[in-house]
């Protein structure tokens, strides 16, 4: 290997310079040859950037849901069958949550969520908003990784005394209080006035949902204490108490086993009715990775084909070069170039083309990735590794395809080569 490198590195500058003068002399031809490489490398770079962006986004989303959380959704049907179900099951409730927390030692905390039906827009003295209203347990914010940027969160005491407090998501705050200064002001939800005690920091998730699971959207939402929502807002008798239940599982416990146990309890408490659905965010991540991997493989194949096509283009042009420069090759042999020296000269030329192509390809890849980002709002992220990999792959392919023309050049009979013009 070291001999291989010594073979290349020996007095490299004049050879690279010579290669560049030849490539510059055939500017258009070189550029057309380069295009194959540019698109190949560009595709690889863009693909890796989009794939990595997706991964980072996915992790952010999972963090939003909470990696150690299980989420139970109320799935009570909206049609006539609801009455039948209600004979056996009261729907998802705070009592369910308490039962789970009491019997399962691995439950860290839980938070109930009730989506409050809003008749009309929400009003404040400054503006109005069509934000969703969620009544949530005080633990909800910490479990979901939400923090106040202004004011404070509500606590257990606020919840217990049905305090008429509200926390605003970032976007909701901007709509309700366009002039700012929301803290201490009042907002009207249906017929109830609540006092704003805090505004939440925006997490800036680009997507609203992840693998079919709603994740973002908290920015355009108004939160009130769960008990306030249950006691002070009117509720249809047939409705379940909770729309959602978040359960945080202790780090030592296996998530799927916990999910199974909780499913069993709920199933019993709901009289075997199929009116709830359990989501394990960690499983969603695995699913997401699977999809991403398929995407990456498909893109790799496309990029690979493009690189091979580029390589064939390089080979084609190098063969033309060898034909064109037969007499020069003969002269080099006459002044003492060995076969390996000729191979080296042509391989250096191929490598220069490849590296030039890789360099322009990196630029193309970055442009493509940002283009994708601009039009589809997919997240992109570049890594140094992807760039290094692209350059190495590109150079390898080029050298691979350059070997045949270089060997052909070295095998020319010097006498015949000198005679050709």
């Amino acid at each position: 290997m070291s001999r291989f490198f010594a073979f290349f590195s020996k007095d490299l500058i004049p050879d690279v310079k010579l290669a560049l003068t030849y490539l510059a002399h055939h500017g258009l031809r070189t550029f057309l040859t380069l295009l194959g490489m540019i698109f190949g490398v560009g595709a690889v770079i863009a693909m890796l950037a989009v794939s990595r962006g997706g991964e980072i986004e996915a992790l952010k989303m999972i963090e939003g849901m909470g990696v150690r959380n299980l989420i139970v959704h109320d799935e009570s049907p909206l049609d006539d069958s609801l009455a039948d179900i209600r004979q056996h099951s009261a729907g998802l409730s705070v009592a369910d949550a308490k039962a789970i927390a009491d019997t399962m030692p691995f439950v860290d905390t839980w938070a109930g969520i009730r989506v409050v039906p809003v008749w009309d827009d929400l009003f404040s003295p400054q503006g109005n908003s069509s934000a969703e209203v969620w009544a949530v347990s005080p633990g909800f914010f910490q479990m979901s990784g939400l923090e106040p940027s202004l004011g404070r969160l509500f606590d257990i005491e606020d919840d217990a005394r049905f305090a008429q407090y509200a926390l605003l998501g970032d976007a909701a705050a901007r709509r309700l209080f366009p002039r700012g200064d929301a803290i201490g002001q009042r907002v009207k939800i249906n017929y109830l006035w609540v006092e704003v005690i805090g505004v939440l920091r925006d997490r800036q998730l680009t997507g609203e949902s992840f693998q079919g699971e709603q994740v973002g959207g908290e920015s355009d939402r108004v939160y009130i204490p769960l008990q306030t929502g249950l006691k002070r807002m009117s509720r249809n008798q047939m409705d379940s108490e909770l729309s959602m239940l978040k359960i945080k599982i202790a780090p030592s416990q296996d998530l799927s086993a916990a999910a199974e146990a909780i499913d069993l309890i709920l199933d019993r408490r709901h009289g075997g009715q199929d009116d709830f659905r359990m989501v394990v965010p960690a499983k969603l991540l695995a699913q997401q990775r699977q999809t991403q991997r398929i995407f990456a493989i498909v893109m790799c194949v496309v990029a690979g084909i493009s690189l091979v096509v580029g390589g064939i283009g390089i080979m084609n042009i190098m063969l033309a070069c060898v034909l064109e420069r037969r007499s020069e090759i003969g002269l080099l042999r006459a002044v003492g170039a060995r076969r390996t020296d000729v191979v080296r000269q042509f391989l250096i030329e191929t490598t220069v083309i490849a590296l030039l192509g890789a360099f322009l390809g990196i630029i193309a890849g970055v442009v493509i990735a940002y283009g994708v980002n601009l039009f589809s709002h997919w997240a992109v992220a570049f890594s140094l590794l992807s760039i290094v990999v692209a350059v190495i792959v590109c150079a390898t392919i080029a050298v691979g395809f350059g070997v045949y023309p270089a060997m052909a050049a070295s095998k020319l009979d010097p006498v015949a080569a000198l005679q050709s013009e």
Partner: protein, 242 residues
């Protein structure tokens, strides 16, 4: 390679080179025997197809004989492998061609230095700049060092090519019709240059069919049909050869 006072620089015995053209074997060289000693100046003449170029290619280690012996500086080179032959071409042989064979993208100086690229890595490849300048000055092209070949006249191009052949201090300078592409006045200048080089003990072999060129050599070898027909010293030459 040790200098041996008695023996020749080049000793060729029963050299044959056969080309296969279809089913026919063409004997380009047919049992050629020739000695060239240090400081000699030989002109090889003969009609085209007489084998003079083939002889030059073999003497220059560009080609290998089908049979026979070729000793260069007391070393048998007829059966050497390509790498060693390349090394011999690089160190001991300087070529001058009819069509100059300069690389168009390189300057005159870079063309002259071209052979130095193929020195082995462990060797000191730094060339004595003064020597290069001295050669180029002697050939009258010192002020053309940074020019590209297409900016030079035919005579200047051939001088650059000769400088390239001399930069390695070759034991043998081989010239194949060196004046073939030049007008008579320029040719005369180039031939005078060969005379001067030979006066400094440079061994030269010229392949030509021009009588005026052969006139500069000390010895003339006449070839026909792959065989050496006649070998005479210049002073013994009949005034008119056909």
């Amino acid at each position: 390679m040790a200098e041996n006072g008695n023996s020749s620089l080049i000793s060729v015995q029963n050299l044959c080179r056969t080309f296969q053209v279809g089913d026919m074997a063409v004997h380009a060289l047919d049992h050629v025997t020739l000695d060239i000693s240090q400081g000699d100046f030989v002109a090889v003449m003969g009609p085209s197809g007489s084998g003079k170029s083939t002889l030059m290619n073999i003497l220059g280690c560009l080609d290998t004989p089908t049979s026979g012996s070729y000793r260069l500086m007391d070393q048998e080179v007829s059966d050497m492998e390509d790498g060693l032959l390349s090394n011999i071409r690089n160190r001991y042989i300087g070529f001058v061609f009819q069509s100059f064979h300069l690389l168009p993208r390189l300057t005159a100086l870079e063309n002259v230095l071209l052979p130095m690229r193929y020195r082995k890595q462990d060797e000191d490849v730094r060339i004595d700049r003064d020597r290069v300048r001295e050669i180029m000055e002697r050939l009258g092209i010192a002020d053309r060092m940074q020019h590209h070949p297409n900016q030079l006249s035919g005579g200047q191009r051939q001088r650059v090519a000769i400088a390239r052949a001399l930069v390695t201090r070759p034991s043998l300078l081989l010239a194949d019709e060196p004046t073939g592409n030049l007008d008579s006045k320029t040719s005369e200048g180039i031939m005078t240059l060969f005379d001067e080089l030979n006066a400094d003990n440079q061994t030269i072999l010229i392949v030509t069919h021009e009588d005026e060129v052969a006139r500069h050599a000390k010895r003339v070898v006449l070839m026909r049909d792959g065989k050496i027909e006649q070998q005479v010293l210049q002073q013994d030459r009949p005034s008119q050869w056909t």
